[in-house]
């Protein structure tokens, strides 16, 4: 269909461009003849102006004399032109020949240029065959034909109309998390918690996305959620997993190791979080043995082992399946994204603090110190924000240089 129309359009274009060239030649009216017409109408206008009393007699006479002079000039030029034309009879046929060959040339060039240029340029620039995708049509397709994003959007529209649809939120929340739309995932899990009431699952799912949001740090709100979930069911592994991470992050290595060990003991041997937990235990023990090692720049193993940021990137299962390098890359990617954004666009004091913490997680105290300096620069006018960043830096043991 598209190609049919395109070919028809091209043919019409060629026809319109070539048609005038095939008509019989008409004599061109001399430009002097046009001038003559103008001068005549100007003379009439002067008469009209006099009638209406716009100009007086003397002025009109002067104007008439001037136009008449030009009129005579134009008439002379026209006469001269036509007398020059006559003796040229002999050369007329050769002129006609050159005229016809000009025309032939023009026809050929036009006939080639239009299809070649248009198809060539369109193939280079266009997306032939790509259908239009009006939003309404995309969203009203049957679900099995919809792409993931379209499914999500359809669900979102339904939820916008009926925000208490628990099934809708439950379907959407994990998809958001997988699509890394963390903000939306948090909203979805909050809604589930609101509608369904407190359950181990709802509490710890929300806590988990909050941890992801905070670049792997179990913040106060998440900690509280996990504690509430833990109270509901002391055996549920997910709250225990994150509570153990939180202990590690708070510097309570010994308690953390104890919790990890308990989790390992209570789990089946092939539980997906076992390798991760063992890794954590090893890393924490190392930290107890040599607390300064994290600062010597040998970040890779220490950071991967510290576990502080691990769950941030993926859910528990994924974290367990990942290799140390992958984990490291993922954290680094997230941190550098955050750093880039803050450095170029600035951010809130909380975001700066999050970056500083994340850099410490990666065992980059130098970077963290630099980030503090940059944050203080960027927050220049925000006195409260500066105090917040300074307080956080002090509590994290990062030196403040300004």
């Amino acid at each position: 269909m598209f190609w049919t129309i395109a070919v028809v359009l091209t043919l019409v274009t060629m026809a319109v461009a070539i048609y005038p060239l095939l008509r019989k030649e008409r004599k061109i009216e001399s430009a002097n003849a046009y001038d003559l017409t103008i001068y005549k109408s100007q003379l009439k206008e002067i008469d009209g102006d006099v009638e209406r009393g716009l100009i007086d007699g003397a002025e009109a006479d002067a104007a008439r004399a001037e136009v008449a002079r030009r009129l005579i000039g134009a008439q002379d030029a026209l006469d001269k032109e036509s007398s020059e034309m006559r003796p040229n009879h002999d050369s007329l046929s050769s002129e006609e020949d050159s005229g016809t060959s000009n025309l032939k040339f023009a026809v050929v060039v036009i006939a080639l240029l239009i299809p070649l240029l248009s198809s060539g340029l369109y193939f280079a620039l266009g997306s032939p065959g790509l259908q239009s995708q009006p939003l309404q049509a995309r969203l009203s397709k049957p679900p099995e034909q919809q792409s993931l994003t379209e499914l999500v959007a359809s669900a979102e529209r339904k939820l916008a109309r009926n925000p208490d649809d628990l099934v809708g939120w439950k379907g959407l929340a994990p998809i958001y998390a997988r699509m890394r739309r963390t903000e939306d995932a948090i909203v979805a899990y909050r809604n589930i918690l609101r509608i369904e009431g407190e359950s181990v699952e709802a509490l710890s799912d929300l806590g988990e996305v909050l941890v992801i949001q905070d670049a792997g740090v179990v913040n106060t709100e998440a900690l509280e959620l996990f504690q509430r979930a833990n109270l509901l069911d002391a055996k549920a592994p997910k709250p225990r997993f994150f509570l153990a991470i939180a202990l590690g992050q708070e510097g309570q290595e010994r308690e953390a190791i104890k919790k990890w060990q308990e989790l390992v003991d209570d789990s089946a041997e092939d539980a997906p979080w076992i390798p991760f937990a063992k890794n954590q235990i090893a890393a924490l023990e190392k930290r107890i043995a040599s607390p300064t090692e994290g600062n010597d720049g040998n970040a890779s193993s220490a950071a991967a082992g510290s576990g502080l940021a691990n769950p941030s990137k993926e859910d528990v299962q994924n974290a367990a399946e990942m290799t140390a390098e992958e984990r490291q890359q993922m954290i680094e990617g997230m941190v550098s994204n955050l750093a880039e954004r803050l450095n170029s666009d600035g951010g809130t004091p909380d975001e700066w603090v999050r970056l500083i913490r994340a850099e410490l997680v990666l065992n980059r105290p130098d970077m963290a110190a630099k980030t503090v300096t940059r944050a203080l620069d960027a927050l220049q006018s925000d006195v409260e924000g500066i105090e917040k960043v300074k307080a956080a830096a002090r509590s994290l043991g990062v030196s403040i240089t300004q």
Partner: protein
């Protein structure tokens, strides 16, 4: 499919434009009627194709087709329908397509209705239009293609810049572009005359309607932009000497000069070469305006240098058209015949005076606009040239020009009598002096210059009326005679009088509003009162309201004067959710169509208070009403039947006519 067809038609239009650039000129050079005849159908078909391409893009916007990158970047499915239409040109790519579309409209108009033009002039003019169209189509297709597709279409767009989601700014760019691009016709006519080496007798008559159209629309466009800035930015200002504003103001100044010099050329055959130069310069300034706004050079010279593909393309176009046009002028202008002599004190002389001051003031604005850019490019220092510079350079140049406005039309062609002109203007002069003295003595405060400026405005307005009065002999001739003269007056006379009257109105509005406005900026809590110029504003409270793609925080103000309720105003702070960007929605109450009360909301304070700006702007609407009157004046001139000219009658018929006469 519609989108791809639109894209394909745009490519076809480029092929047509390329043919139109070459074949008609070739025909004009070889006296071949058939080669020249290609121009008109090509121009009309191009208009059709570009129009359909534009419609295809519009369709994509209206149906929220996010598989088109341009739609995804600049619209949102929840937008009000109106803004889905207007966001087509609320972005770089779409607005350039609109630019080319308007260019195609103008070319097609010349092609369709230019049968009264000498064939060579028409062929050459359309060919030059073809150059411009080809260049800008290439620009659109290669650097700013609005039809670029995304394979995996996102589900929601990134929304249009909230500041553009406003009816004022929706209408502003098309008007402005109609103005800018309209001047391209004058440019093409000039280049055509230079190419042919002759200026036809009717050249000025051919060009004047186009210049009038472009000028009128540009006037409206600038006024609309200024009014938009006034109510949308929430600062109560209407002109900021911002480079973007200057970019539209320079072609206006130059175009105004062109409008006047074309009169001299039409009536007296004088100033031909100057008029041709002015046409080239006016369109050059339009191109410069497009370059300044579209290349991103204004945001930052550095940003421009790091991603220069678009900017360099427009810069190359700029150099090719301005440099090429001026070189052709330097080469061919000496061959053109000059005509019509006049003494310095004459209608022609007064129009030369007008041209001199208008082009000098355009130059001042040009320097003020480009100097910061040049400085940033060379030294890296970012400075902004603002009102003080323009007040010191542009202002003084305007004064003699404005003083001369009523005098010019009263001078006779060729040789005028200045003293007699002044005598005829004694009423206007008297009124101006009276108003100045009254303002000075009756109104306390305000700058001492204000009464003089108001007097000047009165001088222009009464002077414009005096011209009509003199021409129809009102109070001198019997009233019936005056009426019949009034009816028979050429429309151009009304056009000129209205144009000048509107100018006076704008000046009056500027002077009164600037000198006698009052304002209060304060933090108010519900229940608080503020008093401005005798009006009392009571903040009733706030409410939130969400609609479409934004959330409003609306304040309610009860306005009273001497205890009587005047009105209730609802200014709002609007936040567009998808970009999380706030805008101010000003509330304006107009008293007697002239004076405005203006309330805009600032930021919400911690303690339930909110920043509020209240302005009392006396006579402020005159600024824009004056522009509308100028535009109406342009329409009057445009409708003058004398601008319509016939083609020469064929030989036989001419003889017949001579026989019957």
């Amino acid at each position: 499919m519609i989108i791809e067809l639109g894209h394909f038609m745009l490519v076809l239009a480029l092929a047509l434009a390329l043919i139109q650039s070459v074949v008609p000129i070739w025909g004009a050079q070889t006296d071949d009627n058939r080669l020249m005849a290609v121009a008109s159908p090509l121009a009309i078909l191009q208009f059709l194709f570009i129009g359909l391409a534009f419609a295809a893009l519009t369709n994509a916007y209206v149906t929220s087709d996010f598989s088109v990158q341009n739609v995804w970047e600049n619209s949102h499915s929840q937008m009000p329908l109106l803004f889905k239409f207007t966001s087509v040109w609320g972005n770089h790519e779409g607005s350039m397509l609109l630019w080319v579309f308007i260019l195609a409209i103008f070319s097609a108009l010349v092609g369709a209705f230019g049968n009264n033009l000498p064939p060579k002039l028409k062929a050459n003019t359309l060919a030059v239009q073809g150059w411009i169209t080809s260049a800008f189509l290439l620009f659109v297709l290669l650097t700013s293609n609005p039809f670029h597709r995304i394979a995996n279409a996102p589900i929601e767009g990134r929304d249009l810049n909230p500041i553009l989601q406003d009816i004022g700014l929706a209408i502003h760019p098309p008007l402005l572009y109609l103005g800018y691009v309209g001047f391209s016709i004058a440019f093409s006519f000039s280049i055509a005359a230079l190419l042919e080496g002759r200026i036809d007798a009717a050249w000025a008559r051919f060009v004047r309607p186009w210049v009038l159209t472009a000028w009128g629309l540009l006037t409206l466009g600038i006024a609309m932009g200024s009014y938009w800035a006034y109510y949308e930015l929430g600062w109560g200002g209407y002109w900021f000497w911002d480079p973007v504003e200057n970019a539209s103001f320079m072609p206006w100044l130059c175009g105004t000069a062109l409008l006047h010099s074309a009169i001299v050329m039409e009536k007296r055959g004088a100033l031909k070469v100057w008029t041709i130069l002015l046409s080239i310069l006016t369109f050059s300034l339009s191109l410069l305006g497009t370059f300044l706004v579209r290349s991103g050079v204004l945001t930052s010279v550095h940003a421009f240098a790091t991603d220069p593909s678009r900017g360099v393309f427009i810069l190359a176009l700029l150099i090719a058209f301005i440099g090429g046009g001026l070189s052709l002028f330097a080469w061919r202008a000496p061959m053109l015949k000059q005509g019509g002599i006049f003494s310095p004190i004459s209608r022609e002389g007064s129009l030369v005076f007008n041209n001199l001051f208008l082009s000098a003031s355009a130059a001042a604005v040009l320097i003020g606009t480009l100097y910061p850019l040049a400085l940033e490019a060379i030294t890296g220092a970012k400075i902004s040239v603002g009102a003080p510079f323009f007040n010191a350079t542009f202002g003084p140049m305007m004064i003699p020009l404005l003083v001369a406005v009523p005098i010019g039309p009263l001078l006779a062609w060729k040789r005028g009598d200045l003293f007699a002109a002044f005598q005829r203007l004694f009423v206007a002069l008297g009124a101006a002096i009276l108003v100045t003295v009254l303002c000075y003595s009756l109104i306390d405060g305000g700058s001492a210059m204000a009464p003089l400026g108001i007097g000047l405005a009165v001088w222009i307005m009464v002077g414009a009326l005096a011209e009509i009065q003199l021409r129809i002999g009102l109070f001198k001739l019997p009233i019936a005679k005056s009426v019949s003269r009034f009816v028979g007056l050429p429309r151009t006379v009304f056009g000129a009088a209205l144009g000048h009257f509107g100018l006076g109105m704008t000046l009056l509005g500027l002077m009164v509003a600037t000198a006698y406005q009052s304002e209060t900026i304060l933090v108010m809590k519900p229940g608080d009162h503020a008093a401005v110029s005798g009006y009392s504003f009571e903040l009733g409270g706030f409410r939130e309201h969400s609609a479409f793609n934004y959330v409003d925080l609306i304040g309610t103000f009860k306005v009273t004067k001497d205890g009587k309720e005047v009105t209730e105003l609802h200014p709002a702070k609007r936040v567009y959710t998808s970009r999380n960007m706030p805008t101010t929605e000003t509330a304006i109450y107009t008293i007697a169509g002239v004076t405005q009360l203006y309330v805009s909301l600032g930021d919400k304070q911690d303690d339930d208070g909110i920043g509020v700006r209240i302005y009392y702007k006396p006579w402020v609407t005159f600024i824009w009403l004056g522009c509308v009157v100028m535009f109406i004046g342009g329409c009057f001139s445009l409708s003058d039947r004398r601008l319509r000219i016939g083609a020469p009658a064929r030989k036989g018929r001419a003889k017949e006519a001579a026989g019957t006469a």
